[in-house]
């Protein structure tokens, strides 16, 4: 019995220390990525190329999802608001829901599964096929040449994608609310204009999506760089990217929301 408890405690200790060590390495990796960003930022075409692969290629899923989420919001909110006779507030509610929360959060979740997983798989496979080692032996730092451009591309793309998601969502809400359910078009837009604040709502949303961009891309590049260089290792790392970044997005969203909108 004592022996079993001992083994359990040992396992627990090992698991905790190895996780902490990995977290430490991930933090060091993050700092190194920032330090070695000079090349990527000087030769900006490297970042632009990655913006195409991570950002532009994610647009379809972001735009279509944004439209559907907005349409669902239109239907759901209209029904509830109608009960209290305040369907005219539909525009406000759709816009605030999207700009403050759903835009940054859902876009980041989609971005993690579409672009984050691709980044991890790509870097992981480059490691498995010794391309990263080859780069090192050619006196080219893989963090500067492979990791940093992907990181900055993700950080740049994320707020733009979140903005597109919100814009499409508002369009979806408009299509359902105004075109289909008959809310007055003028009321829809003017209520939205009157109650959505640039600093309080839009800037906060942009800050959120910027933070999510950092989190998702950091996790994605780290998992790729740190994965076991085998088929199993790459697939495991890809899964971890999606799971970890989804959880991290939701947790960070709570923290950010708590700071930004304290019920005041």
């Amino acid at each position: 019995m004592l022996n079993k408890a001992n083994v359990f405690l040992q396992g627990l200790g090992f698991s905790l220390t190895s996780r902490m060590a990995r977290l430490g390495f991930a933090s060091k990796f993050f700092v190194m990525t920032l330090l070695y960003s000079g090349t990527a930022l000087r030769r900006f075409h490297l970042v632009v190329r990655e913006v195409y692969f991570t950002g532009v290629m994610s647009m379809i899923i972001i735009l279509v999802s944004g439209l559907f989420v907005g349409m669902v919001l239109g239907l759901q909110l209209y029904q509830t608001l109608q009960t209290y006779g305040s369907a005219s507030a539909l525009g406000t509610l759709v816009a605030l829901t999207l700009v403050r929360e759903l835009g940054p959060v859902v876009a980041a979740l989609l971005f993690a599964s579409r672009a984050g997983s691709a980044i991890t798989a790509e870097i992981g496979l480059m490691k498995a096929t010794e391309q990263l080692s080859a780069m090192e032996m050619m006196a080219v730092n893989p963090i500067a040449r492979v990791v940093a451009p992907r990181f900055w591309a993700g950080v740049i793309s994320m707020p733009l994608l979140a903005a597109m998601f919100s814009a499409m969502g508002i369009l979806g809400g408009y299509l359902i609310g105004v075109q289909h359910l008959g809310v007055d078009s003028g009321t829809f837009w003017s209520q939205m204009q009157a109650s959505v604040d640039v600093r309080e709502d839009i800037v906060n949303g942009v800050i959120k999506s910027f933070v999510f961009g950092i989190i998702v891309t950091w996790i994605a590049v780290f998992e790729g760089y740190d994965c076991e260089p085998t088929a199993e290792g790459v697939s495991g790392a890809t899964t971890r990217t999606v799971v970890t970044s989804s959880l991290a997005i939701l947790a960070a969203d709570f923290v950010l929301t708590a700071f930004m909108f304290r019920g005041a």
């Binding site: 080859a134 032996m137 050619m138």
Partner: protein, 271 residues
Amino acid sequence: MSADPLVRLTDVSFAYDTRPILSGFNMQIPRGKVVAIMGISGGGKTTTLRLIGGQVKASSGEVVVAGQRVDQLDDKGLYAMRRRMGMLFQFGALFTDMSVFDNVAYQIREHTDLPESLVRDLVMLKLNAVGLAGAKDMMPSELSGGMARRAALARAIALDPMLIMYDEPFAGLDPISLAVVGHLIRTLNDALGASSIIVTHDIQESLKIVDYIYFVSDGKIVAEGTAEDIRQSDIPYVHQFVWGETDGPVAFQYPAPSYRQDILRGAARAQ
């Protein structure tokens, strides 16, 4: 061996975590020569290349390349040193998102400001040397194993290195590609005035092209000499390796508890 070798490993020890790979390892690579490191898998051959390239650091001992202690260089010094080295990885490790041309041009573009017309001339020169000028626009996925190896070789010599390292250059090649790669290793070494280190299992091909051979087993050098010395060697390990015998100092069985004991225990448990 020459008085001033290009690469010198003196009393080098190295371990991955707590698993010792090399211990008390001594080796010299003379200038202008092609040297092979041979031995069974997991014996520390590739680790030796990684030590010379500075990708791992020795726990003790000296690794000297062109008069500089590789194990004491900082990142900047190491990168400067690597610009003078070329390395061919086991399966080429070509960048899969670039054409053959861009792969070979990669280092030239990264490390120099040469105009694109000059880059083109240099790349075509290298591709021509390995016989792949006609394949410049192909992607790595379109190449056969032998062509990929040759393209990677062209990339490795793009900056005219003083030292070229080959990690299993013959693995998985058909006899014709194998002979072509072997021939290229020798002629490029002589044409560039470089030194080459080949890590390989392929005894017959390497005996044809190399000047000197080190045999490595369990992290130690067990034999060394010219191709002829090695062929004639009566050291049991070398003899077994050269003639491909199934039994000898390298046992067929991976260390395991007695098979008889295992069977008896299994029978006892079944009852």
